[in-house]
Symmetry: C2
Subunit: 336 residues, 2 copies
Amino acid sequence: MKTDKILLDHGSGGRASHKLISELILKYFHNPILADLEDSASIQIGNTTLAFSTDSYTVTPLFFPGGNIGELAINGTVNDLAMRGAKPLYLSVGFIIEEGFPISDLEKILGSMQKYAAEADVLIVTGDTKVVPKLAADKIFINTSGVGIIPDGINISGKNARPGDKVIVSGTIADHGITILTQREGLNFDSPLKSDSAPLNHLVKEMMDVSDNIHVLRDPTRGGVGTTLNEIASQSNVGIKLFEDDLPIRDEVNGACELLGLDPLYLANEGKLLAFVNGEDAKKILETMQKNKYGKDATIIGEVTDESPGKVFLKTTIGGTRIVDMLTGEQLPRIC
Amino acid sequence: MKTDKILLDHGSGGRASHKLISELILKYFHNPILADLEDSASIQIGNTTLAFSTDSYTVTPLFFPGGNIGELAINGTVNDLAMRGAKPLYLSVGFIIEEGFPISDLEKILGSMQKYAAEADVLIVTGDTKVVPKLAADKIFINTSGVGIIPDGINISGKNARPGDKVIVSGTIADHGITILTQREGLNFDSPLKSDSAPLNHLVKEMMDVSDNIHVLRDPTRGGVGTTLNEIASQSNVGIKLFEDDLPIRDEVNGACELLGLDPLYLANEGKLLAFVNGEDAKKILETMQKNKYGKDATIIGEVTDESPGKVFLKTTIGGTRIVDMLTGEQLPRIC
């Protein structure tokens, strides 16, 4: 590490986060399961393969159009489990609350957690609540961890992308990131922006029901689609070619990004997935996704090649090609 | 809830914490597994029974005699799993780090986590790191969640105390709580105080190997032995009689408690367990415990009666009897 202090950039989900994990954290915690760096670990218990995942949520503001921190905490961990093809079953919840936090706000958060846990069909079975003095934490942080069952024979991993695969995104990108940022900046637009927070496990189940050829699933949260695709290109040692014209981006999101000088490829999503699937199965998977409310805008945005392994390229609207790198620098702390 | 704000007392582990959980959190997350309120949830996956637990660590100072926040985070969750008779297997780690935190301190914490994970024989298989801006969190908070296997036929629960059971404590009480408090107050004593932080899973395994009659195991952390025994008395609907003369307390701990006006029965322990065991097996369990370095001061401190169910009594040194209630009010925030 070139710095002797933790920087915001270390939490961006981009290049600095990867360096922190690979150069520091893995040095101490090295084992083959953790080193996989998947959205959730795959662990063997007797004859059963489980997915196990954790995430802490520190988003600010706590309440934003389209969701709140509690909803993110449920959906985020449900999605991390689903991205291994697991059926999410049980969650833990750990609250760290600042003294003086309004109980009415806590109730709103608990209500959202209850609602989305019910929708995702998971049970919150264990928990912990810590209260810290005024100013020792900013309002409330929530950790959720989860376990789910990975069905026999399923091996969905960032390592499994293959040349010829089609890259599907389940809907419009950058909605969550741009919503949080404009909220903080106090910006208002004619067409209101809204987080896309959603539990994707049922969508994943429907995709798996129609195809045995889903190679990779990943939810592009911190660091956005651009960073997530770089992770997959690197883990699978393949090239990825994206088509700018095919990227689904709402007009209002595009407008806000242009205004603020942000690239939607690096903005967080909280209810979207990227799927790498066998080319032959792409159409039927896409049609299945489009029938689910969380996949209705699903579209193919790119393909996997054997050229330039480890790299992501964007074919631009005007006909050029540019490299899409991992996020460097922190676009936005406390996005989730 | 009589207050409209979260108070420090809600995180004490005592009466206010119990009210917050039972009146608010369980209202939203109600299900039979969570409602058990054990140190870890018991969940059924196929033919296997798993323990699943979570805890967030916010202790200040981060480094203290006898340990640091990283060590607590491993041992605390390992112990929560072991208190159901589970063999802890896999942990998750979630860091929330304040911008500017020294990487050298993070390395010390990671080193301790590695050391105690190795001692407890658990793997850290999944993780998450969030960085928040200066002043949004106080240095570093760590969440660990864990899963372990509960062997077939094992049912160790706070509900299982029975009249005639002996109550064993695995060693001296109040060491952790008094150490943190005196550190914060900047007090120095001739005999230095030291946290008792330790992983207890191997001790528990040895106890289970010699007896099938361990009814309850619980680690008396926040709220201390007094609060934990009240929880068990209430869950099992039994009375508990303690003998003040038999409570193992280091002289220096007793001295510091007297100086500061604190009751050692309510101070946190981070490497001790309470066991409720069949009277006939008590001696052999005790002898087994005393052979383990974390059980060498194990002793019988009380017994279970059918009188005054739900209550804990202390037979005092001078021959009287007083009720030991749950902790009310916050003795000490951020103890773990």
